[in-house]
């Protein structure tokens, strides 16, 4: 949970962050996210619009998927070390999808006197399709 500290000395390239598995996504969740974020594109809330757009119904917000990835990051890392966080949206999410977020430390280095790691991030649905790929950079505290 929040405030967790990961120390530079304890992390190595190839290490995994704690995996996050969501509950099955629900249409009502897309409506909640629409209200919370302010993105009222009807493709996320109005079934007929989603059908017309060729998705057979509503789809989830890309930013909701980024939210799951962000949760995986902060569950493992806390908030304060996070310096950069970016994603590319690869596929849509639909109601009943279960999203699994994984992350791997891809680089470890010292830059401008800061102890940095890069993390590769992937969110996949229950079929193994990539919904989101992304990366993060964090500046970690040192034990010494």
């Amino acid at each position: 949970m929040g405030g967790k500290e990961v120390f530079f000395e304890d992390v190595n390239v190839g290490d995994k962050i704690t995996e996050l598995v969501t509950k099955p996504l629900a249409e009502i969740q897309f409506v909640m996210y629409a209200g919370a974020s302010g993105d009222f594109n009807p493709i996320h809330s109005v079934h007929a619009f989603g059908e017309k757009a060729g998705f057979g119904g509503v789809i989830g917000h890309g930013m909701l998927s980024m939210g799951f990835v962000g949760q995986a990051l902060t569950d493992w890392l806390g908030h304060k070390a996070l310096k950069k966080f970016g994603v590319d949206f690869r596929a849509v999410t639909k109601p009943k999808d279960v999203i699994t977020v994984t992350g791997t430390i891809s680089n470890k280095y010292t830059k401008d006197e800061e102890n940095c790691i890069d993390i590769d991030l992937v969110a996949q649905n229950q079929k193994g399709e990539k919904v989101v790929t992304g990366n993060a950079m964090a500046a970690l505290p040192s034990r010494s």
Binding site: G35, A36, G67, F85
Partner: protein, 148 residues
């Protein structure tokens, strides 16, 4: 298609006051039960002044600031053909409830790419946020894709 002449175009500044109720609503919609988003005491114990913000929370700033209306209307983006291709945040200083952030939107780049789905226009929208003390807190880079 969207012409390269819009690169560098800027939009009027907008401000957004960060509210704790919105943070709770946002975290709850994601399904993130981390107490630092709901309980000020828990957040304070973790070293936050007020509630923490989820890392993707700044989407709330940009939507409140008229990204969808002001910018997309100005660029004549057709929402039916538009996709959110990617989103990046660079964090410089923490933002907490009660802060008033001010965003300045600039079109950083426009280019086209041709792939399996045909030629698509990429629009890179960069928003720099400062807080009420004039400190830079965040840079938001939004990649918008428009299918032709």
């Amino acid at each position: 298609m969207i012409g390269k002449n819009v690169i560098g175009r800027e939009y009027p500044e907008f401000s957004y006051e960060v509210e704790k109720v919105k943070i709770r609503e946002f975290a709850n919609a994601i399904g993130d039960k981390n107490p630092v988003y709901y309980d000020e005491k828990a957040a304070n114990e973790e070293g936050f002044k007020g509630l923490a913000l989820p890392p993707s929370f700044p989407i709330v700033f940009s939507l409140a600031g008229g990204l969808m209306t002001v910018v997309l209307e100005d660029l004549k983006v057709d929402l039916v053909k538009a996709l959110h291709g990617g989103q990046q945040y660079e964090y410089f200083k923490p933002v907490k409830p009660g802060d008033i952030v001010t965003g300045k939107i600039r079109i950083a780049d426009v280019f086209e790419k041709t792939g399996k789905a045909g030629t698509m226009d990429f629009i890179i929208i960069e928003t720099t946020y400062t807080n009420q003390n004039g400190e830079k807190v965040l840079v938001d880079t939004n990649t918008l894709i428009q299918r032709r």
